[in-house]
């Protein structure tokens, strides 16, 4: 297990280096950093001095090393637009995105597993057909349309829920949470649902497929042949085995949820890193873009690692012989 984790860590470092390279190339070559920093009136000679000061005249490799060195320390420079350290900006926006991501991941997971199990068990029923059809509609609906529709119905026409933002937030140390106030909780409902729908559909279809697969296995037949109750078979044996692959995908989905939040955050004016990113793309605020890229890569690497460890916890086959018994 330790060996595997070490191998995984090494892979993660490689991934991060690769992403860092992309981020660096973007940072260095998309537009002239100097031009983005100074007004049109800065004289050429002065620009050259700044170039030197920023190390832009050093060999590219040196610059890359420095970029990585800074990135490791969480330094991505100063946002061109907001004139603040990028790392601070991202940290201040992070809680909003993480809370949104977790809320929608929870909805997606609970709803997805429940509907997936239901449709797998009630094969061929009308309800299953309806849910499956609805799920395809869900996949075919762009997130922004769902968001607009929800705002229009629940905020404007019915006036039940807030249409934007996070409501009242409470500071717990550096973490600003919206989950402790009524307005905060009300505010998260619509964006969380919007963000979760796609993942919910995905998880549901995955759970259903896996569950049907598992239900066809010999050990489920054998369990039936032993007269175990439907409950024990469906929710014990079958579901547990279904969840092994589901955990992997869902874990990885959590990462996508954070990145997918870009669109939802834009529609709902949710003050997270996603909306920070989209604004930055629009104004080509490269330091923020680069940092966001690194951040997302980091999130994925961490989630991957956690998923691997979780896999160990759930699947005993992996624990002893390191996966040799796997398919």
């Amino acid at each position: 297990m330790l060996a595997l984790i070490i191998r995984r860590l090494a892979q993660s470092v490689l991934v991060m280096l690769f992403v860092a390279l992309i981020a660096f190339v973007m940072f260095r070559y998309v537009g002239d950093p100097i031009a983005s920093m100074v007004g049109v009136e800065t004289r050429i000679a002065e620009q050259e001095i700044m170039r030197d000061r920023l190390g832009l005249n050093d060999p590219v490799f040196m610059q890359f090393l420095r970029f990585i060195g800074n990135a490791v320390q969480g330094q991505f420079g100063i946002s061109y637009r907001l004139q603040q350290p990028v790392s601070e900006l991202i940290m201040s926006r992070l809680p909003a995105t993480i809370e949104l991501a977790f809320a929608s991941a929870t909805i997606a997971l609970i709803g997805g597993v429940a509907l997936g199990v239901f449709t797998a068990l009630r094969q061929g029923s009308f309800a299953t057909g309806a849910i499956m059809a609805a799920s395809l509609v869900g996949v075919s609906l762009p997130t922004f349309l769902i968001g607009i529709a929800l705002i229009y119905i629940f905020a404007v026409e019915l006036g039940w829920l807030p249409s934007f933002g996070r409501g009242q937030v409470v500071e717990l140390g550096w973490w600003r949470t919206g989950l402790l106030t009524e307005s905060g909780l009300r505010s998260i409902i619509l964006p969380a649902i919007t963000l979760s729908l796609f993942q919910l559909t995905l998880i549901m279809r995955l759970v259903r497929a896996e569950m049907l697969e598992v239900m066809r296995t010999e050990y489920i037949r054998f369990a039936r042949a032993r007269g175990l109750s439907d409950k024990a078979i469906n929710f014990g044996h079958a579901l547990r085995n279904t969840l092994v692959p589901v955990i992997t995908i869902t874990g990885l989905q959590l990462g996508s949820v954070i990145a997918f939040a870009i669109v939802t955050e834009t529609v709902f004016q949710w003050p997270g890193v996603g909306s920070l990113f989209i604004t930055s793309v629009q104004v080509v605020d490269v330091p923020v873009m680069a940092a966001y890229l690194m951040f997302i890569a980091f999130v994925f690497v961490v989630i991957n690692l956690i998923v691997d460890i979780l896999y160990f916890a759930v699947d005993p086959r992996l624990r002893v012989d390191g996966g040799a018994a796997g398919k």
Binding site: A225, R226, H237, R240, A325
Partner: protein, 331 residues
């Protein structure tokens, strides 16, 4: 004469497909006496496994029992409610599947799986169930059962796993065990052991066995009676010794010829030319007629029904149809 433990009459299992209805099991009848071992033999697709599944009520959709009845100790168990069926499965009929590698849930400890099954059927405490489970594992020949009971399936070898499967099938003390190719997936070296274990442990508990296999050798050594299935029909049924010695149905004859004899030369095994027809293309008349060496006109037109040829022996073949007044078999 004692009442049969299991009585199957006219069992027919159908699969509707877009090219018409396929009949996987066609008008099959047989009995199993308490404590008896009935071998069911035939090629893949002959309907043996399907018969076993039908008895325990586990035919996968869209398949269904189209006709016939199944009685266990005189009471019908086909078409009863799912909850009633659950009290039959495991408790009164145990089942052993072919592949021990896939029969056990990989995520559950052996102890969990056995204890869960015991406690589903018998009102005993957890500790008692566990004790029973350890005893059972001991019985089926798992060394150091007390320690190994908490292992996961993947920690056992194939042979050991099949022992666990046998223990699982028998843990609620059923009267009948349906063993569907219990040794096919195993190493040749352990096949005999497993059959021995199964036979012994059933005998100890007085349980009857329905042993489904394509291996006539296993039947010869294990079963009291044998039913030969071909294309979903019973072509011959009778005591093992008699059938081996004196097979009547041309198919059985070929089949018996395929049993390797001590000192015999494998290459000189009798072979039946051709292969069993697909279910979608069963010929008219006797299903075996295209391959039969002794085929005659009637075989191509009319379907033979089982004909009693000796005490306890029936054969579905026109060769044994004593000429009747109208010269036609019952429809």
């Amino acid at each position: 004469m004692t009442e049969p433990l299991l009585s199957v009459r006219g069992l027919t299992v159908e699969f509707p497909t877009r090219r018409g209805v396929l009949t996987a099991v066609n008008n099959v009848s047989f009995d199993i006496m308490p404590g008896e071992v009935l071998g069911v033999v035939g090629e893949s697709g002959a309907g043996k496994s399907m018969t076993g599944s039908a008895i325990i009520g586990l035919i996968e959709r869209p398949g269904r029992i189209a006709a016939g009845e199944i009685r266990l100790q005189g009471e019908r168990i086909d078409g009863i409610s799912p909850s009633a069926m659950r009290t039959v499965r495991g408790r009164r009929i145990g089942m052993i599947f072919q592949d021990p590698l896939t029969s056990l849930n990989p995520l559950y400890r052996i102890s969990d799986q056995i204890v869960e099954t015991i406690r589903t059927h018998l009102p005993i405490s957890l500790a008692e169930a566990r004790r029973r489970a350890i005893g059972l594992l001991d019985d089926v020949g798992i060394p150091d059962a007390e320690r190994r009971i908490d292992d996961y399936p993947h920690q056992f070898s194939g042979g050991m796993r099949q022992r666990v499967v046998i223990a699982l099938a028998l843990c609620a003390e059923p009267d009948l065990v349906i063993a569907d190719e219990p040794t096919t997936a195993l190493d040749v070296s352990v096949q005999a052991q497993i059959i021995d274990v199964m036979k012994r442990i059933c005998a100890d508990r007085g349980a009857a066995i329905m042993l489904i296999t394509h291996d006539m050798g296993v039947i010869a050594e294990t079963a009291n009676r044998v039913a030969v299935l071909y294309a979903g029909r019973v072509v011959e049924i009778g005591p093992v010794r008699d059938v081996i010695k004196d097979a009547r149905h041309p198919y059985s004859v070929g089949l018996m010829g395929a049993i390797p004899k001590l000192g015999g030369d494998a290459e000189r095994l009798t072979q039946i030319p051709g292969s069993m027809p697909r279910l979608s293309a069963i010929p008219q008349g006797c299903a075996f007629n295209p391959r039969c060496e002794r085929v005659f006109d009637r075989c191509r037109v009319e379907r033979p029904e089982p004909i009693a040829v000796a005490p306890q022996r029936e054969v579905a073949c026109w060769l044994y149809d004593e000429p009747r007044s109208d010269g036609r078999a019952h429809a």
